[in-house]
Subunit: 499 residues, 2 copies
Amino acid sequence: METKEAINVIREYGAKLRALRHAMGVMQCDAMVCAPKNSAPYRAATGAVLSGEVYKLTTAPERVEAIELLSQMSGETDELTRLEVKELKKELDMLTKLPPELYREFNRIKGEASAAWQAAKAANDHSMFEPYLDRMFSAARTLAQHISPDKDPYDHWLDRFEPGASQETLDRFFGSVREGIVPLLRRVLEKPEPDTSFLHGHFPVEQQRKFSDSIMELMGIDRDDCSIAEVEHPYTMGLNKHDVRVTTHYYEDRVAANMFSVLHEGGHAIYEMGISDELTGTALAGPASSGIHESQSRFYENMIGRTLAFAELITPVAARFFPEAFAGVDAVRTWRAVNAVSPALKRTEADELTYSLHVLVRYELEKLLMHGEITAKDVPCEWNRLYKEYLGIIVPNDSEGCLQDMHWGSGLIGYFPTYSLGNAYAAQIDAAMRRELDADALIRGGRIPEITAWLGERIHKYGRTKTPEELVKICTGEPLDPKYYIDYLTEKYSKLYEL
Amino acid sequence: METKEAINVIREYGAKLRALRHAMGVMQCDAMVCAPKNSAPYRAATGAVLSGEVYKLTTAPERVEAIELLSQMSGETDELTRLEVKELKKELDMLTKLPPELYREFNRIKGEASAAWQAAKAANDHSMFEPYLDRMFSAARTLAQHISPDKDPYDHWLDRFEPGASQETLDRFFGSVREGIVPLLRRVLEKPEPDTSFLHGHFPVEQQRKFSDSIMELMGIDRDDCSIAEVEHPYTMGLNKHDVRVTTHYYEDRVAANMFSVLHEGGHAIYEMGISDELTGTALAGPASSGIHESQSRFYENMIGRTLAFAELITPVAARFFPEAFAGVDAVRTWRAVNAVSPALKRTEADELTYSLHVLVRYELEKLLMHGEITAKDVPCEWNRLYKEYLGIIVPNDSEGCLQDMHWGSGLIGYFPTYSLGNAYAAQIDAAMRRELDADALIRGGRIPEITAWLGERIHKYGRTKTPEELVKICTGEPLDPKYYIDYLTEKYSKLYEL
């Protein structure tokens, strides 16, 4: 096979794989947004056929040969092809270094563990989940040892979701988080709670929908490229840069949940929409990592959406849609209310200050589980101990405690840290951006798209052509340093709570 | 290849084809309901790849061999396999009797003619569409001659959408329609118009949504098997019997459009949901024909939804959701209003009496076009002449006249007659059912599911295992006879308009 022929081979397979993944992505969105309940078994059957085809195409000997050839001849191809081949080779190694029966076994355990988790959560009985959780971690360990035999298995999984991440860097990172946030939280909790009462009341869904549209407009989101739908648990899916699906959930008794959902998911969407046209149709037209993706959602949610400047911009808009609730509410009151700190049980509802403490608990536990230093039956006790220690709260039951997240049951081991990394990236990026732009003036003036342009040039456009480390460097001039995150939180909450 | 092996081959290909078509169906629904506007080009690219795969799998030599073998050995297989193989052979012949370049050419012309139709309609300029329309009919003729060389080309297309239909039967059918309905319409139009004013006003979408839910509940539709979404032009898609998608459109200034949309599309949905479980996963788990499908939607819309009995059932429900509009409205007033006759330009908005006259115009024109007796440039003049003759109305422009339907531009030639056949089947089925059931008492008493059970046993459960002709025979004891349709209309409108 010649270089040119090999390139054609990967392009042809790429088009088919893309089409299948596109269809599977749409089916996934449809399942959340539109499909009737009983559609599930038939969709699962179709999903199995299509993923079988994806597996077959991905590992087709002709394609494998082309990728191997191009990997060895990286000097002969242009930069984009070289990067794409590297990406494809990495993905391929995950599959081909694994005996097919192990791959199937891992997927089978995921399916069973997911179902067991769901049942255990509903029954508030962790013991129902324990054998599956142990099996899940054991399978994850085996899989890691096959793909990355020279690596610690947890490092394999960390790197899988956040290329470049390892226990060495994350131990240091979470050390700073613990030492920085735990005492800061204690000081905040000594202060009086801000008034959040006006954020609760009656907010009709119809009005909230219009409010969402206004927020997306302020964010500069082109709705011809990005839809919004309603689901139980909001997410964003980027099928391609001109087809991004934001979702939200409306609670009629409160207004902030949807507002920050739209800002958060809108941030994810802006990233997907900003990937350079030149990457369209290649394996590089995706996000650099889960952590970088999260950094963008958190940026719009917190570094923009929870500033005093944004409160000044949004308070009159909110008052237009909810005149009663926002009567007499000024920007400072909005700002204080949306930044209220309140340690609670659920990670997904956590405030900005306590969020990474929730992640810290999970990081410590999955490290112990992966190395067999604890087993599933130790999880509830350890979980509750750490929540008491870091967040100062008592976990009343496992459903709201160690059974709250679906991640481990779904095989997402090593994923949690990307949430915290996202926050830390965002804080460091914010500091760098504020050295160049008067962000508050832009936000206050309704000029958020100028901030998007800044981020677009430094992050969004690159898609997957740069590593997280390279992107942080381009944006901020230095590698990730948790100091920025801790400083950001310290300064912000000192001001808010007059520490 | 042995019989057993051949059966396995068609099952294996069947599973893959079903998965691909399922995914394509979901993408189509998603495009109408959820997807942002700019998603179209990328979706088209994915659609092209997936239909290419469908073509490749459908015509795979191994599969073709298995189907040919089983066709010849129909004595050795069970009845269901025999029927399925017959169905698969028919579908295969459509593809294999056609040189692939002709198939591609036909699809190319469809794409171009669709676009030209859209532009011509927007510009109100039929001449922009004419060359494409001529090319479309010419391609349809060529295609018919390849697949059915012994048949008149229009007969080929009629049979394609309604197995068993031909000009011989349809000339007779539409003759009765013309002779029965045109004079009846003249008599109706001499009478005073009923009061429909209360159907116009302000009907908030939120309330209409709840009204739709109530109608679907009265129809006995299990919402776990059937969703409802909002689109520009309502349709129903049955992905499988546990995943049916009804759509509707809400107009805030009128209530009847959505009400009858839900009844009509709900009828389509009930058919799909009623197909026997034993057919699931085979090529027989579909509707018998377009005409039979339409007969079921029309049945729920008209033979149930436009009766006095249904007016008695629904008027108090409507009054609950729209108390102002329905204040003092009794069932008789509702019944008269929803049956108001008013000849107008648009087929899709036509009343029950004039509906088939719209179809008659199209039938006459496509017959002439197919046989080269007129060409595209003659269409506007002929169209307007026939609308004057049959409906007594003047067509003010081509956009609202001969450019109103997308069908011809999309290659749907010979499809229109199925709409009228559906109405006629429904009337004949209604007459047969009323010999066995006290339909009005069931409707009035909110017992529509008992009517569904009657239809289910005679039509729905059979899926594609019976021809339209066989189904009409099972249901009514005789072949299609347009007399029932004309009698039904004559009796109904004589009562309504006191002729």
